[in-house]
């Protein structure tokens, strides 16, 4: 069926701020959708309140509405613009719910807008647990025995009938919010109450828990002509019992026979064919009894999802892009395979590699949180490793996590007490995969590990191979290590750092040995078809083999370092920055090369960069890539702290850092050097000192006076920062820090109590400083800037103060020899301006300012870094009336019992933008009144 030509203008609904369970994967799908529709000549309007997204950028859509995701905003858009259709399947559950709400009050009907992609009643069938169960029954599929409860009484009654363990699933929530699994009757009442409260309709479904069954996900596409393809089958390493968003997953499925695969496909097709009109991407989750291979349908999501983003990156098949075209009426066989460009989009990809996804958690940010994994998702981000075997992919994913792991095991951090290890196997948390390795190393039989974890023996056997290799390497020294063993280790994903640890040598020595023996990486293409057809798309991963497919071009080239997995303090905003960096590089005639390992991002979309390397942002992988590509330089300013911290080693190796040099970066990051510089420049800063133990800390505090801010010296998002008011508290804080961070230096700053916080983002080209924006925080100092409401421009600071801030900014840009971006944080107390810190890179607020003023600052900054343009070469027309507020958004509801109080450690997971006309705005006044409400000190 060809495209419906009556569709001229489409509204895409975004997913709003990043929260746990709904992250930047929807920026990826929304951006793809917008671009895909525009390719078809359709005018795209887009609503999303999240300013840190690429989808809300002029490069993506025609008309952007940075408005709260409410029916009022929708009506405003419909009044302003002729919209033919709305596409609600790209913005997660938030978009579906908003679309449904708008339908219920008759908005779509009133403005004659057609909902495309799915029938609205589909949402009810798939979201209302009871309806869904009935639906499965009707089409002859099995789902877990279950009952609906709308009250405590009904709930308790149901539990008695179903028996334990039992799963509580609140209706109409996302990421399993409020859900839990209850093993014993003791905890049931408390968790049932929590579940009921979490559901907007005060309803839960109580399922018989099928703990330990295989959990399999199918990503499929269906078109108007009822054609269906399975894009990817994803197998969860963690069996049923752990939310799929919190599970380690593998694609393609590895323990599924052809017969079972067909059965799952048949059931998926039945589920999607009978659900009504649907054209687009859909996710189906199954539980499979490992003994009988009986199948139970767990859930179906008739929209693109976190899993479909992963499946897209895993297979190279752009699900959101194709799904959007299907919504316009195309059928799959009319579209081309976007990777090969010569074959059909009606095609189930073949993989000749394997991917492993590992979630990234941030439990350290939620003190007191239950860190056990269960039915409610708790991860804030994820990484994907691509390899030519499971172990390689698994280790690459571990190397991508940035939790100071260098792979699985072999890092001196193994646990050695058997009982502790066994306990951690039974209660899955973020580190279970590492503990499995420890258990194997300690000689625990695989069968016992299987009993505790229910993880398929095949996976356990693979991990055992790693342990055997480690033991084998131990028999040698670096000099005597045989080539075939080194090869075997590298094929199994061991990093040079791991091998170095085993052999007690330096990482660089292992690398040198590899080079001498010729055990080097090659790069292979992700092509959807396992090499059956030629691929036109430069999407690569590294592995060990005989053929390299990534041919170095003669063009001048630059590598952009990505930010790795999303986490609190470093999220989607850096993906936004990287994408703009890549586009700017292309505009300046460079070959733009991206390296990143976060499958949720737009920067890892295969048609954003000229070349994409889906690799850990990890020294070893980066260095081999640099040796292969020999770029003119590397951009580290756009990928947050992850990228920045690689600058030192790159500089040591003589690789050019584009923009501010490593020395500038270090000058700003090193507290001592930076304070000396401030002193020299006559810029006030809070008194500070450094300490290695509690005694030294007390001495510093005596000098600076209380309150003081205590923190480790290298941190992200204010991790483990504390404000203390007396000696006792300081001592406690220091001891606690030393326990967690070892011998790291501790910084102690005098805390400017009740000061106003403000910040500036600026660009410097060596001649002219451009102040991008000045922001004033509504909350007083003491709350991390990422958790504060920031107002652009300032609402209470006088011109003298603002000029002083600008003057300091200018001085610092020059003294630090910034080329490109800088963010400076200020505290204003008693009319005196203090500089708290300077970040010589793109900041969390850079995208916010760009959006508020509608100026492509990231594009400009990249060109200035390159030196191809100067500040004065650009126009700066600020298109904003009134003020813009950057509001933090939290995910505390995922962690019942965790204190909501705010402090110097960042806790928000996302942000929204809100425009106000003037300071009389009711919303602003409310925020202002409550500014100290959640202050912890």
């Amino acid at each position: 069926m060809p495209k419906d030509t009556s569709i001229k203008s489409v509204l895409i609904i975004g997913s709003g701020p990043i929260i746990i369970g709904q992250a930047c994967e929807f920026d990826y799908s929304g951006s793809q959708a917008a671009r895909s529709l525009r390719e078809e000549g359709v005018e795209v309007s887009l609503i999303n309140s999240n300013p840190a997204t690429i989808m809300t950028d002029e490069v993506t859509a025609d008309h952007i509405y940075l408005l709260p995701l409410t029916v009022e905003s929708i009506e405003q858009i419909l009044q302003e613009r002729q919209i033919d259709c709305v596409l609600p399947t790209m913005g997660g559950q938030t978009a579906l719910n908003l679309c449904k709400e708008a339908s219920e009050i008759g908005l779509w009907e009133k403005y004659n807008v057609r909902v495309i992609g799915l029938d609205l009643h589909t949402i009810e069938t798939t979201e209302d647990r009871e309806l869904f169960r009935e639906y499965c029954e009707k089409i002859g599929l099995k789902s877990a025995p279950s009952m609906v409860a709308n009250s405590m009484l009904e709930g308790k009654d149901a539990a008695q009938k179903i028996g334990f363990p039992i799963v509580i699933r609140p209706s109409y929530t996302l990421g399993g919010t409020g859900g839990s699994i209850v093993y014993k009757p003791d905890n049931f009442e408390k968790l049932l109450a929590h579940g009921l409260q979490s559901s907007p309709v005060h309803e839960v479904l109580l399922d018989k828990a099928v703990i330990g069954w295989k959990e399999i996900e199918i990503e499929l596409l269906r078109d108007n002509n009822d054609n269906v393809i399975i894009v990817c089958t994803v197998e969860n390493l963690d069996p049923m019992g752990v939310h799929t968003g919190d599970s380690i997953t593998v694609a393609p499925a590895v323990t599924i026979s052809e017969k079972l695969q067909q059965k799952l496909k048949e059931q998926s097709i039945k589920l999607i064919r009978n659900i009504g009109n649907f054209s687009g991407g859909c996710n189906v989750q199954f539980a499979v009894d490992p003994v009988t291979e009986d199948v139970i349908v767990v859930e179906i999501n008739p929209r693109v999802s976190r899993s479909s983003a992963l499946a897209s990156k895993a297979t190279g098949y752009p699900i959101a892009k194709i799904a959007s075209k299907l919504a316009l009426g195309y059928s799959l066989d009319e579209l081309e395979n976007q990777i090969t460009k010569t074959t059909s989009a009606f095609f189930e990809p073949s993989l000749d590699y394997i991917i492993v996804k590992i979630p990234r958690w941030n439990f350290d940010k939620f003190h007191g949180a239950d860190t056990t994994l269960g039915f409610q998702m708790k991860a804030v981000g994820e990484v994907m490793g691509i390899g030519r075997n499971f172990n390689e992919a698994l280790q690459k994913a571990c190397q991508s996590l940035e939790n100071r792991k260098i792979g699985i095991g072999a890092d001196g951090k193994s646990w050695t007490r058997i009982q502790d290890v066994l306990d951690s196997l039974e209660k899955p948390s973020w580190d279970r995969i590492f503990k499995i390795y420890d258990a194997i190393n300690l000689g625990v039989p695989l069968s016992s590990i299987h009993k505790l974890t229910q993880i398929d023996m095949w996976f356990l056997n693979q991990i055992k191979d790693l342990s055997l290799i480690e033991k084998e390497i131990r028999k040698y020294t670096l000099d005597t290590l045989p080539k075939n063993l080194l090869e075997e280790a590298k094929i199994n994903g061991f990093s040079d750092a791991q091998i170095a640890w085993i052999l007690s040598v330096d990482e660089d020595e292992v690398y040198a040995k590899r080079k001498e023996l010729g055990v080097m990486r090659v790069f292979k293409t992700v092509d959807t078809c396992a090499g059956e057809y030629d691929a036109a798309t430069p999407y690569f991963y590294s592995t060990f083999g005989v053929e390299n497919e990534s041919i170095r071009s003669e063009k001048k080239k630059i590598i952009v370092l990505g930010a790795g997995p999303n986490r609190i303090g470093q999220g989607i905003e850096f993906d936004y920055c990287c994408v703009h960096g890549l586009l700017a590089l292309k505009e300046e005639g460079y070959e733009a090369i991206m390296i990143n390992c976060n499958p949720e991002t737009v920067s890892t979309d295969f048609d954003v960069a000229d070349k994409l390397y889906f690799e850990p942002v990890f020294w070893e992988h980066l260095w081999e890539l640099i040796e292969h590509e020999q770029p003119e330089g590397v951009i580290v300013q756009l990928g947050g702290q992850t990228a920045l911290k690689l600058a030192e080693k790159l500089t040591e190796r003589g690789v050019k850092i584009i923009g501010s040099s490593y020395n500038s970066l270090d000058l700003a990051e090193d507290r001592g050097r930076f304070s000396d510089l401030l002193k020299e420049l006559n810029i006030p800063y809070p008194e500070y000192g450094t300490a290695h133990n509690a005694d030294q800390a007390l001495e510093v505090a005596k000098r600076t006076g209380y309150p003081v801010l205590v923190r480790p010296s290298y941190v992200l998002g204010g991790q483990r920062m504390k404000i203390v008011i007396n000696d006792d508290e300081l001592e406690m804080a220091v001891l606690d820090l030393l326990k967690h961070i070892g011998d790291n230096q501790i910084l102690i700053d005098h805390f400017l109590d009740r000061a106003i916080e403000a910040e500036i983002d600026a660009i410097y080209d060596g001649e002219t400083v451009k102040i991008m924006g000045v922001m004033e925080h509504i909350e007083p100092a003491g709350i991390h800037s990422g958790d504060s409401n920031a107002v652009l421009p300032p609402f209470s600071l006088g011109p003298f103060i603002i000029d002083t801030m600008k003057e300091y900014t200018e001085k610092l840009c020059k003294a630090l020899e910034i080329r490109g971006l800088i963010n400076i944080q200020f505290a204003i107390k008693d009319k005196k301006v203090f500089v708290i810190e300077a970040n010589p890179r793109a900041s969390r607020t850079t995208p916010f300012i760009s959006k508020a003023y509608n100026i492509p600052y990231l594009n400009y900054a990249t060109k200035i870094m390159l030196g191809t343009k100067k500040v004065k070469d650009f126009e700066y027309k600020e298109k904003m009336e009134g003020y813009a507020i950057k509001e933090p958004v939290f995910s505390f509801n995922k962690f019942p019992g965790v204190s909501k109080e705010l402090g110097p450690e960042m806790k928000s997971t996302g942000e929204t933008i809100r425009f106000i006309k003037d300071l009389k705005d009711a919303y602003f006044r409310q925020l202002y009144r409550e500014k100290s409400m959640f202050l912890s000190k």
């Binding site: 393809i229 026979s257 003994v291 799959l332 074959t343 009606f346 030519r388 075997n389 075997e488």
Partner: protein, 366 residues
């Protein structure tokens, strides 16, 4: 368990002199065969036992093979048909409750020589650019020159020999004698699942050796005929082609699958030629031109129907094409109750995209 074989080297030498080195898996030994690649991600037990692949050295592109072992009743025939396997990671351990043994055991029982730790992607890209060719696989440690000599001396594959290997020596029946339909199958290497599907459609099926005469077959008084998949070059099977022509003189339905479909095309004077590297996978996209619907199919063939001739032919009609490379995937014979598809409706479930093939066939019988 010991650390996976660090030392047992194995080597693959191609006809054009290219050498790939890896480690031994399966049986130790030496094997020569046509080398072809399979890009599917499941169904290895089925592929290795598929008579269409008889005598071949197969390259699997999936990273791991053998993870879920070998289950009873899931083989495509009663033995392993391939001569050798080239793969990336060969499973030493398998995990599936239903499985009765591992791939290693199966290969040892059936004398299949394997090599693992091969950059299979590089190999596939090589075959794709050079076309399928002969290969020799050895884990005996012979010198390359010796292997070259053996490869050169290897006799060309003879289709009749292949058929002798895969076809049943004696006719046999499946299904209940009381079933509604009687169908004759000429065993060119039929996959078991195809027979199962006939039985599920309420048929009593008799399977005849490849060299049975039509007279002999007709003693069974079948209501319809099925010429199934099999190995080799269809142009060598003049007898079968003549048999098809004779069947088509009657009004009885005829279904051709894979090799059977190719033979039907030749019987109508449409040329069938060897492809550069054939189609072998479970994800071949096919468009049914009769219904406008697309389907994902299982394929295992090396010979294709000349599309230009098929388009011009007054005797046949193209019913299916491949969505990727646009080759002919199905034909019907005009004014006859006869049709064939190049893909194999290997079906375990009713909702399968290709389930209609059998329905359509039985519809013709009714």
């Amino acid at each position: 368990m010991e650390l996976t074989n660090l030392n047992q080297e194995a080597v693959l030498l191609l006809e054009d002199g290219t050498v790939f080195r890896g480690k031994q898996c399966g049986n130790a030994g030496i094997k020569v065969g046509e080398i072809n690649f399979v890009v599917g991600m499941t169904g290895f037990q089925e592929i290795f036992t598929d008579p269409s692949n008889c005598g071949q050295i197969l390259v699997t592109t999936n990273t791991h093979v053998g993870n879920y072992g070998v289950a009873p009743n899931e083989s495509a025939s009663n033995k392993v048909q391939i001569a050798g396997l080239v793969c990336n990671k060969f499973a030493n351990n398998y995990s599936r409750v239903q499985a009765e043994k591992g791939l290693q055991e199966l290969f040892e029982e059936n004398d299949v020589v394997g090599v693992e730790d091969i950059d299979t992607r590089a190999l596939v890209r090589h075959i794709r650019s050079k076309g399928s060719m002969l290969g020799i696989l050895s884990s005996n440690g012979e010198k390359i020159d010796e292997l070259k000599r053996q490869l050169k001396d290897y006799p060309k594959n003879n289709t009749t020999d292949l058929l002798k290997n895969v076809s049943t020596p004696q006719a046999y029946t499946v299904g209940e004698e009381t079933a509604k339909f009687k169908i004759a199958v000429l065993d060119l290497g039929v996959r078991k699942n195809i027979l199962d599907n006939l039985v599920w459609h309420d048929a009593y099926v008799k399977v005849f050796p490849y060299n049975t005469s039509l007279e002999e077959i007709n003693k069974f008084q079948p209501q319809a005929y099925l010429i199934p998949n099999g190995p080799g070059n269809p142009n060598d099977l003049r007898e079968v082609i003549r048999m098809i022509q004779t069947i088509l003189k009657t009004d009885k339905p005829l279904l051709g699958l894979g090799l059977g479909c190719q033979l039907m095309a030749i019987s109508q004077n449409v040329e069938v030629v060897k492809m550069n590297h054939g189609h072998r996978s479970d994800n071949q996209p096919v468009k049914n031109l009769m219904t406008g619907k697309a389907e994902t199919t299982i394929q295992s063939y090396s010979y294709t129907i000349n599309r230009e001739q098929a388009e011009k032919s007054t005797l046949i009609q193209i019913t299916h094409v491949n969505l990727n490379d646009e080759v002919v995937e199905g034909i019907s014979i005009k004014n006859k109750k006869a049709f064939g598809v190049q893909f194999l409706p290997i079906i375990y479930t009713k909702e399968h995209d290709s389930a209609y093939i059998y329905d359509q066939f039985f519809e013709l019988i009714k």
